[in-house]
Amino acid sequence: MSTNKVIHAIYNDDDILMDAVKASRAAHHHIEEIYTPFPVHGLDKAMGLAPTRIAIASFLYGVVGLTVAANLLNYMMIVDWPQDIGGKPSFAFYQNMPAFVPILFELTVFFAAHLMVITFYLRSRLWPFKEAENPDVRTTDDHFLMEVAVNGNEEDMISFFKNTGAVEVKVIDKH
């Protein structure tokens, strides 16, 4: 019984993969990671992953963007150099607010979108020129790879994953 041995079960269909994931979880095998060529709908739920918190982060980034935009506009258009554009009064923020809405909106979206992407990259430990982590190049083409920790009888596990419809089952010594 070794802790750094893993099984790589490779599938060639996302529906078969989904069923295999459910079967593996029912049999209490520990799925470490799944590599897929495209996002498989509902896979995160089937794997039992905790729901993403990126939506909350995105909302907070949007609030930051809105605050930045409001302060930026207030400083530029009202405080620092009041500007008279189109005959609109420029002495109070609320009087000019309708004209500011497009910028308030755009900066909210800008902050939410960019910071969300950056957060996602940081959280997934992705950066430029990083070496790919996926153990099999076919997972970038048309195959799905499920990595499962070996726990208990190795032979039983291999036959179990063969039965779930895997086209290939390998035992790998990690590290």
Partner: protein, 503 residues
């Protein structure tokens, strides 16, 4: 099969009966002569202007407060326009003269507005002016029950139209998630026929001069010799004339009703069919309907809503009205679905379907706001008198409903429905839905009332009763239609996907 519970049926009849009583009360108590109006105005004066409309009205009759207020609001709107600034300054010294200068540029186009007429000859024959004003208020007060009826009638009819458009989109898109809701949508669109018949009757009565909802229908408005002559309306009379107006209304309503009739028929036939031929027919028909609908809906919104302000126009008005009733329609689908679900029907509807409906409620609310704001900001910014008068009237006399509806239709839905998990909770969806429907009723109120009853608006017996009556009728018609067919479109080719829809 669904059975219409007696409790709900009784509730619908009670609503209709109360509504009819209230509507009749509204018509019977509307003032008949200018003497009645004088009494009403005197009473509201003694009460110390219990609401804004009465207060501003009294001010218009000569109080200084109004001139100050008007001048201030103009100052906020247009300080750079030089004559406005001058006029605003001179308010303090020459009250009467400046009133004309300040108020007239903004409201001169709006012949419904009492103040312009007042201001123009403030120091002329005061008595004659007073009589004219009383007659104007009389017309507004006589319009009030009609306008209340009109707003409620068009609102509920357009809800069923919005659901019909949503239904057609589901067919055209071959959407896999929604077929379990098709019978609910078909039930709601069954209100289209009675709703459009009543609405058409209202339009015909307007065309017969039973009311003054449409200023361009007034006799002599296109006749240069008449005292009612209006050059701008005369220029539009090739399009805005009663016969063509009614023909358009009949063609549009007939087209929508025909689509509703045949799509329902095919949908029911598909249940018993052995192949998908009815499904294909409905797909093609839905595509044709949507092409017809987007053109006719736009023209209909100019006719039925925008033409109450015949001098004013907005090029995105069709979309704006559409967004309003589309989100109301989707909200209604969610309500009926949740109601049926709570009674143990619609076994295949799960929280993912509710989640999708709530996403649409959220998304179309934002879309409505985008159109509302696009219309508002361009006109506010350019500040061209004939355009901006529309918003000046609303901000001066309808401040609470005008800005309140932005809170109801945008701020609250976005805050309540932005969370994914909330969109799956029935009680949250119902709360957001009540807010959205209230907000969009007020939206239609804001579209119709300023031009028809002006500063005499009030949400009173007429308005609430009209709403109750059509609400009762809507419940009765919709739930009767729901009993007529199984609640699952069992032979729809996408029904399996819809049953297992999960997200």
């Amino acid at each position: 099969m669904y059975t219409f519970s007696n409790k709900l049926k009784t509730f619908a009849f009670v609503l209709m009966a109360l509504g009819l009583l209230g509507i009749a009360y509204g018509f019977l108590t509307a003032p008949k002569t200018t003497q009645d109006v004088e009494k009403i105005l005197a009473e509201s004066h003694h009460e110390g202007g219990h609401h804004a409309a009465a207060a501003t009205h009294e001010a218009a009759a000569g109080s200084e407060a109004h001139h100050e207020a008007a001048a201030d609001s103009v100052k906020q709107e247009t300080p750079a326009a030089e004559h406005h600034v001058v006029a605003t300054d001179s308010v303090k010294t020459e009250e009467a003269d400046s009133t004309k200068a300040v108020v007239a540029p903004v409201v001169e186009e709006d012949h419904h507005d009492a103040h312009a007429a007042h201001a123009e000859s403030h120091d002329a024959d005061a008595h004659k002016e007073h009589e004219k004003h009383l007659e104007h208020v009389l017309h507004q007060l006589q319009n009030k029950p009609w306008a209340a009826l009109y707003v409620a009638c068009i609102f509920f009819m357009l809800i069923s139209v919005g659901v019909l458009a949503f239904y057609a989109i589901q067919w055209v898109a071959q959407a896999g998630w929604s077929p379990v809701l098709f019978r609910v949508m078909e039930g709601i669109t069954s209100y289209l026929l009675p709703g459009s018949i009543i609405f058409l009757l209202l339009l015909i009565l307007s065309g017969m001069h039973m009311n003054h909802l449409f200023a361009w229908m007034v006799e002599g408005v296109t006749d240069p010799k008449s005292e009612h002559y209006d050059a701008i309306i005369a220029g539009k009379s090739g399009f805005l004339n009663v016969p063509f107006f009614l023909i358009r209304a009949i063609v549009f309503l007939a087209g929508w009703n025909l689509y509703r009739y045949f799509s329902r028929k095919n949908s029911l036939a598909q249940d018993e069919a052995s192949d998908d031929s009815f499904y294909k027919k409905n797909f093609k028909m839905a595509a044709g309907f949507l092409a017809f609908f987007i053109v006719t809906e736009s023209i209909a919104s100019w006719d039925w809503v925008m033409s109450v302000d015949p001098h004013w126009y907005s090029t995105l008005f069709g979309w704006y009205v559409f967004a309003s009733f589309f989100v109301s329609g989707i909200t209604t689908i969610a309500f009926v679905t949740l109601y049926l679900k709570s009674k143990g029907y619609l076994e295949y509807v799960n929280t993912s379907h509710i989640h999708d409906l709530a996403k649409f409620m959220f998304g179309i609310s934002v879309f409505w706001t985008y159109l509302w704001f696009s219309q508002f900001m361009l006109m506010w910014y350019s500040n061209i008198p004939e355009e901006v008068t529309y918003f000046v009237t609303r901000i001066e006399h309808f401040k609470l409903p005008f800005f309140g509806m932005v809170v109801l239709n945008f701020v609250l839905p976005i805050l309540i429905l932005i969370n994914t998990d909330f969109k799956r909770l029935s009680w949250v969806v119902v709360m957001a839905g009540i807010i959205i429907l209230t907000g969009h009723y007020i939206d239609f109120f804001n579209m119709i009332m300023p031009a028809t009853v002006g500063d005499q608006w009030f949400i009173g017996v007429s308005e609430i009763s009209s709403l109750l009556f059509f609400f009762g009728l809507f419940i009765f018609v919709v739930f009767t239609a729901l009993t007529k067919a199984p609640l699952l479109a069992k032979r729809n080719p996408l029904i399996e996907e819809s049953k297992h829809f999960h997200y």
